[in-house]
């Protein structure tokens, strides 16, 4: 039997919905559950409707479901907006100061007054009430508050206790073990991965939904040994980062679509000058400013083809926090091993979703070596080699004159207009791409899950993996997720699709960008399920779509 439960916390922007949600997630984490939290908010600072859905399951999950078992309503709107998610068994907990409803009301103002606590602690009352209703032992609440609300813990607990004591344990949640995962967002996981991959400089200009990575690395810069720089704009971002890389430090940048546009010229420079660079792009609904705080998977084609001219690039699109961690580290490695731009293509769902990472199972990543100059022969930045990869040296290295150049250049890095050298250098760069592709043979670039032997296969990418996996398992379908999208893992994909007779591609965009890529690679695509209203596909919705397609 599957144990699982979902909790919705809703209220106005600025009311701390996100942190309330995180506390709820930690409570469920303490019961041994894997959790996922989706946080939904419009692009504004106060007011407007925010909500979080915390889902807990005894299996790893990467997305929320439509229906919820508990609702924590900080305002009336929460109950109205989400009615579809409730049934008669849904436990309704609310702030009775501002919400009228049947169910378990607790007065936030009274708790605060009684404890002489500031308004900011109000949510604790409601969380306390939830804990009781869900049968969570008070000890667990104490434990979670102590670890995760270190400021004013005692007062917060006192406020929570008032909520706890006011309601009844109507629908206890069964503890499922004593596993205790680490709850991290996709952005944080990517940040950890970058650190694991040896990144020592992160340069970014804030842009939702990538800003979390900037904030995370800035906050932990000292511990991780990462220099974090926030310059005047995204053009400066990528060029500063290229300066860092040239000087020998592994640099990464992060942004979203509009900011990435401004990096494309620097990207092409990196391609030509063969300067390693890691680029984290988190997608949101476009075009243009679009929906800054809502998700999409509509920049794949852009990322794959951005920049004038032709040069190899690495692109990985992780589907959950675990993959974000691992592939961010790999991206850093690939950038340096092959001296190419390496992308981590995320989306809002992944970036800002909170996932469970099981620390016990976390592999420590070993950063690979790059091709360093041996100091013996005369240094030539673009020396021809069998692999197309020239040895790296950095300014300051005794005896090396390191000349990088965005013009067509010769092996020494001096500008040339000689047609022969120009085409040879183009071949050199493409050769690196071939070697990159070959090097990836050792990696699990395609994830095969669901029911691997099923004749129907769903292919997806990025965060939609979470919904696909569940829908596929439920419907007996094979799930195939190419994590690496450039170089395109043709062969691994073909293996994963062996025996599949019907292929359905699921994406959060309007034109089927992965589907196009598949067709280009000669893969059969029988149907596409496209979803593009900014909200992540849930397993429920996807199942419905799949059933329709499969009819």
């Amino acid at each position: 039997m599957v144990h699982e439960t979902s909790v919705l916390v809703g209220g106005k922007a600025g009311e701390g919905i996100n942190s309330a949600g995180m506390v709820v997630a930690q409570l469920l984490n303490r019961l041994g559950y894997y959790t996922f939290m989706y946080y939904d908010y419009p692009s504004l600072i106060r007011g407007g409707h925010n909500f979080a859905i915390i889902r807990a399951s005894d299996r790893q999950i990467g997305i929320h479901r439509d229906a919820v078992d508990y609702v924590l309503a900080l305002n009336q709107e929460t109950l109205e907006r989400h009615e579809d998610r409730f049934d008669e068994r849904t436990v309704r907990i609310f702030n009775s100061d501002v919400v009228r409803d049947e169910g378990q009301g607790v007065s936030v103002s009274e708790s605060l007054k009684a404890e002489n606590a500031p308004a900011i602690m109000g949510n604790s009352t409601v969380i306390g009430a939830f804990a009781k209703a869900a049968g969570i032992p008070w000890d667990t609440v104490v434990n979670v508050f102590t670890r995760h609300l270190p400021k004013g813990t005692q007062q917060n607990l006192a406020v929570a206790k008032r909520g706890y004591d006011q309601v009844a344990a109507v629908n206890p949640i069964t503890p499922v073990g004593d596993r205790c995962c680490s709850l991290v967002s996709g952005n944080e996981a990517a940040g950890l991965g970058l650190v694991a991959g040896g990144i020592t400089a992160y340069v970014a200009y804030p842009m939702t939904p990538s800003s979390g990575l900037l904030h995370f690395l800035a906050e932990n810069a000292w511990n991780f040994g990462v220099s974090v720089v926030h310059p005047e704009n995204e053009i400066a971002v990528i060029l500063m980062a290229l300066g860092y890389s040239y000087a020998g430090r592994r640099a990464a940048v992060g942004t979203s679509g509009g900011g990435f546009c401004l990096m494309t010229e620097g990207l092409s420079l990196a391609g030509m000058a063969e300067i390693p660079i890691v680029i984290f792009v988190s997608q949101r609904t476009g075009p243009s400013t679009g929906l800054p705080t809502y998700t999409a998977q509509s920049d794949l084609r852009f990322i794959l083809n951005a920049g004038q001219g032709e040069f190899p690039r690495f692109v990985a699109a992780p589907g959950d926090a675990g993959q974000a961690y691992y592939w961010s580290a790999v991206a850093a490695d690939m950038a340096w091993r092959y001296q190419v731009p390496a992308f981590i293509l995320a989306d809002k769902t992944l970036s800002e979703g909170m996932y469970s990472i099981d620390l016990e199972k976390l592999p420590m990543f070993k950063t690979g070596a790059y091709h360093a100059w041996d100091g013996m022969e005369q240094y030539r930045r673009y020396a021809y080699t069998d692999s197309g990869i020239s040895p790296l040296a950095f300014p300051g290295a005794a005896g090396a004159i390191v000349k990088v150049n965005g013009y067509a250049h010769d092996a020494s890095g001096i500008t040339t207009e000689d047609g022969g050298i120009v085409s040879q250098m183009t071949k050199k760069r493409l050769l690196k791409g071939e070697n990159l592709a070959a090097g990836l043979k050792d990696y699990d670039t395609v994830d095969l899950a669901g029911v691997p032997s099923a004749e129907t296969a769903v292919i997806c990418w990025g965060s939609v993996r979470g919904a696909c996996l569940e829908a596929c398992e439920a419907l007996g379908i094979r799930m195939v997720q190419p994590v690496v999208l450039s170089p395109f893992p043709d062969q691994k994909l073909r293996e994963s699709l062996k025996g599949a007779r019907r292929v359905i591609v699921v994406e959060e965009n309007a034109t089927g960008q992965l589907a196009a890529l598949l067709r280009l690679g000669g893969f059969q695509v029988d149907a596409t399920i496209l979803h593009y209203d900014g909200r992540p596909l849930t397993p429920d919705l996807l199942k419905a779509h799949l059933k329709e397609v499969l009819q």
Binding site: R147, C181, S182, L183, V184, E188, L192, V195, A196, G198, T200, A201, N220, A221, W222, N223, F224, G225, S227, V229, P231, E232, N233, I235, A236, L239, M240, A241, L242, G243, Y244, Y246, A247, G248, R249, A251, E265, G266, A273, I357, L359, L362, T367, F394, P395, G396, A397, A398, G399, A400, I401, V402, K403, V404, N405, G406, Y407, G413, I414, T415
Partner: protein
């Protein structure tokens, strides 16, 4: 590498009479001097934009980053932040640094990052065959403005002073001795050094006579007085026929960004532990 040849074998393709030769010569001599004085030239990096000026990256035999149009400064900033032991010199154009990438120049000044910027200010886009730039005089007839520009030029010195540059100078390619001093002092200056170099473009804006007639050397004065520097800088507005002062307009000491930034080097072990610590904190 000591005793190196300071000029590469790359074929030089500047026009005869081009002021860029003077700047190249200045850099070469300066580097030679520095090497004699014990400087390790392996720690010198030249960063350029795109334009005639930028060919310097090909010609001077030191580490170089031949970047893209308008973007030398952020590259230089990144290099200096990554390794403050490097001496970073930028050769940029007026189209390059005053038009395409003006913001970067001003932010570098604001940050007081310890790099030296030489603007090869020929007041024209040379390499794209003669369009007006932000410092071309009003009415300049370039290929994009055959009837004459409608815009008054900017005064880069004034802008850089307003942006917080701590070393602001102007040189002239026909005054090479002075130019060398200006560049040397700029490189030695701890902080952001800006040198606007009036550069002859033999082909599209041959102003030799004009400049020869009007340029004069700044008299000795207290360079650290900002208001004085401003009024000096405004004497000539890059448009009218006023006398054109050459020399250092302004200089002051101030904390530089590259020195202020924390640079913690972590071992792999430390990093792995930091990752695990963070994850543990989220349990």
């Amino acid at each position: 590498m000591t005793g190196r040849q300071l000029i590469t074998d790359a074929q030089n393709t500047w026009c005869p009479g081009c002021g860029n030769f003077s700047i190249q010569h200045t850099l070469k001599n300066l580097l030679a001097d520095m090497e004699k004085e014990g400087k390790d030239l392996d720690t010198v990096v030249l960063v350029t934009g795109i334009g005639c000026h930028a060919k310097m990256a090909d010609y001077i035999n030191v580490n170089s980053f031949y970047s893209i149009h308008g973007r030398a400064i952020p590259v230089a900033t990144g290099i200096k932040l990554a390794n403050p032991d490097l001496t970073v010199i930028c050769c940029v154009g007026d189209g390059d640094a005053y038009a395409e990438g003006l913001d970067h120049l001003l932010f570098a000044a604001k940050r007081n990052i310890d790099i030296t910027v030489l603007v090869h200010n020929n007041r024209v886009y040379g390499l794209t065959t003669g369009q007006y730039t932000p410092t071309s005089p009003l009415g300049f007839k370039g290929k994009s403005t055959p009837a004459g520009t409608l815009e008054f030029p900017m005064n880069p010195l004034d802008l850089l002073l307003a942006s917080g540059a701590t070393y602001v100078a102007r040189g002239y390619t026909r005054k090479m001795e002075q130019l060398k001093t200006l560049v040397r002092d700029g490189v030695l200056h701890r902080g952001f050094s800006f040198i606007d170099i009036l550069q002859i473009c033999a082909t599209f804006f041959p102003m030799t006579d004009y400049y020869n007639k009007r340029t004069y050397d700044l008299p000795e004065y207290d360079r650290s007085v900002f208001d004085l520097a401003c009024s000096r800088a405004r004497e000539w507005d890059y448009n009218g026929d006023a006398p054109i002062a050459l020399g250092v307009f302004y200089q002051r000491e101030g904390p530089t960004l590259d020195k202020k930034v924390d640079r913690v080097i972590r071992s792999v072990q430390e990093r792995d532990n930091a990752i695990l610590d963070f994850l543990a904190s989220r349990q």
